[in-house]
């Protein structure tokens, strides 16, 4: 990347793989389990978090020298809450059905541990540009896992992608369904999301042995 120095690009690339917020730090699991039954909400969620984290990190970083440390959590909460409300209102205005589908989980971005974690750990101590990159990187790392999980859960659970019946029609028995294939109802249930995330963690750690914790 010519645009970014080596140190800066590390800020973006690290959370995508070796320091992924979901698979390595195991944060933000609730939303990963709740909204990944289909691909579309997963992507909307990923984009929403990307916006909140990118902007939020910059705002916190700009204010980092004037926030009294005793009330910093309250200030951080206000920043996240404001951004989340913006996202929520935009979704309600332009994608009402999606907003209904995601229901309370957009609001719950406020409690997403990844966001508060990055504010605390990074934005409070770094300049706006680096904070922005860090926010984008972490949100992308979170989003990638969400999209992978959503892809497998929608494909195997409902036989669709973005609502299109890619495997054939289960009612009229076309495509794969003609030879007796059936959707895996377990994939639609949240426990299976946990197992899919677990499998991603398993694959990642067996590829990169350094990630395995000692105990």
């Amino acid at each position: 990347m010519g645009l970014l120095s080596k140190k800066d690009s590390k800020l973006i690339m690290d959370p995508l793989a070796d320091n992924n917020p979901i698979t390595i730090q195991v944060l933000g699991i609730c939303s990963a389990l709740a909204i990944t039954a289909q691909l579309k909400p997963s992507i909307v969620m990923a984009v929403s978090v990307l916006f909140v984290m990118g902007v939020g990190n910059v705002v916190i970083s700009l204010m980092r020298n004037i926030i009294p440390s005793k009330i910093r959590i309250i200030v951080q909460l206000i920043v996240v809450a404001t951004l989340v409300i913006i996202v929520d209102q935009v979704l309600k205005a332009f994608a009402y059905s999606l907003s209904k589908e995601l229901s309370v989980f957009i609001g719950l971005i406020i409690t997403n541990c990844i966001i508060m974690g990055r504010f605390e750990a990074f934005a409070l101590g770094n300049k706006p540009w680096r904070s922005f990159l860090d926010g984008i990187g972490n949100a992308a790392g979170y989003g990638v896992i969400l999209i992978i999980v959503g892809f497998f859960r929608e494909l195997l659970g409902s036989g669709t992608l973005f609502g299109f019946q890619v495997l054939g029609n289960p009612v009229t028995k076309t495509g794969l369904y003609a030879i007796g294939y059936e959707n895996n109802g377990f994939m639609v249930l949240p426990p299976m999301a946990l197992i899919v995330v677990g499998i991603i963690i398993w694959v990642q750690r067996s590829k990169n042995k350094e990630l395995i914790e000692e105990n």
């Binding site: 007796g180 294939y181 059936e182 895996n184 109802g185 377990f186 249930l189 197992i195 677990g198």
Partner: protein
Amino acid sequence: MGLKQKLHTLKEKYRGKKMAPAFNALHTFLYLPNETTHSGSHVRAADDLKRTMNTVIMALIPCLIFGMFNAGYQTNLQTDPEITQAMSLFSGEFWNWSNFVIGFWKVLPLVIVSYGVGLAVEFLFAVIKGHEVEEGYLVTGMLVPLIVPIDIPLWMLVVAVIFGVVIGKEVFGGTGMNILNPALTIRAFLFFAYPTWMSGDKVWVHGAVETAGKPDAISGETILGSLAQNNEIGYSVIDMFLGFIPGSVGETSTLLILLGALFLIYTKIGSWRIMLSTVLGALAMGLIFNGVVSAGWIDSSSKFFGLMNTEFWHHLIIGGFAFGAVYMATDPVTASQTNKGKWIYGFLIGFISILIRVFNPAYPEGVMLAILLMNVFAPTIDHYVVQGNVKKRMKRIKVKTA
């Protein structure tokens, strides 16, 4: 040079190679290896893991054979008007060639798929991880065909077995390390993934799925299914006890399960504490529900009436309860290890299975979910039993020194 010596030489030659575990597994299947202990204790008991597993399989064989006859009998009973209901244990209507052939060709593929896929996964993991293939799948592979409906599509079984062995067992470190019973993990996966093939009134008799909606449709309703809908059941108690009823392949005959239980207790493989306490737990819950009905708290308009009004001891002979209590709950890896813990563990399994059975007709087989739930709690139960014992002994020391 005999075959045994030849195999041994081969083993020495390829020691440490990648495929060695796969070879060793076949080797020890045929012969006891030519190895002596190098350190530690030199006293060995003959009842190693393999013999334990084989004993359980021996206890399961009668259920399997009965299941084959029963599968054919249930179909013939509904399709052939000349066939009458079997009246006694040895009646010719049940034990005949035509029944066996139908059942044999339906059950055999289940057994082959279960063993073939399961052992393939075990071999794969042994080769990748470089440890020996363990015998843990021998019993699971026999249990799986006995606890699925007869018409389950084979590819579903393949998916479920892979899931059950990998997620249920291998990720925890293989045989002996799993927290959940692998056979029940497989069944639970099938149950939640493909509910239309695992419950309802279409799957328990061979042919019921294909003939659904036609004039000569075969009904595949189980007793639990009828009871959940407050319907009358058309089977006598003796039918239920002998097993001439629709259900999963090998779980219908309480008589044969009882014989298997006695065999397991006699050989000290199965824990009589768990079996007995599971039955006691189920009877207790059954009595409570009978009490609720006789106290008049609910009447026949309630949707729970059919199952609550079932006489408390009938719960033991319908559904998969007996099979679960004898062969699943007693799995030494996933059950409680302490004697006091076994009583608590078993009692809660019985208690919760009847609870689920009555209150959630969508999950007719409460015993599966109850055992899985208690599998998770077994280490906790053991922990408190051990801690209780430690406390008691500490007290004794204090009294002595004081």
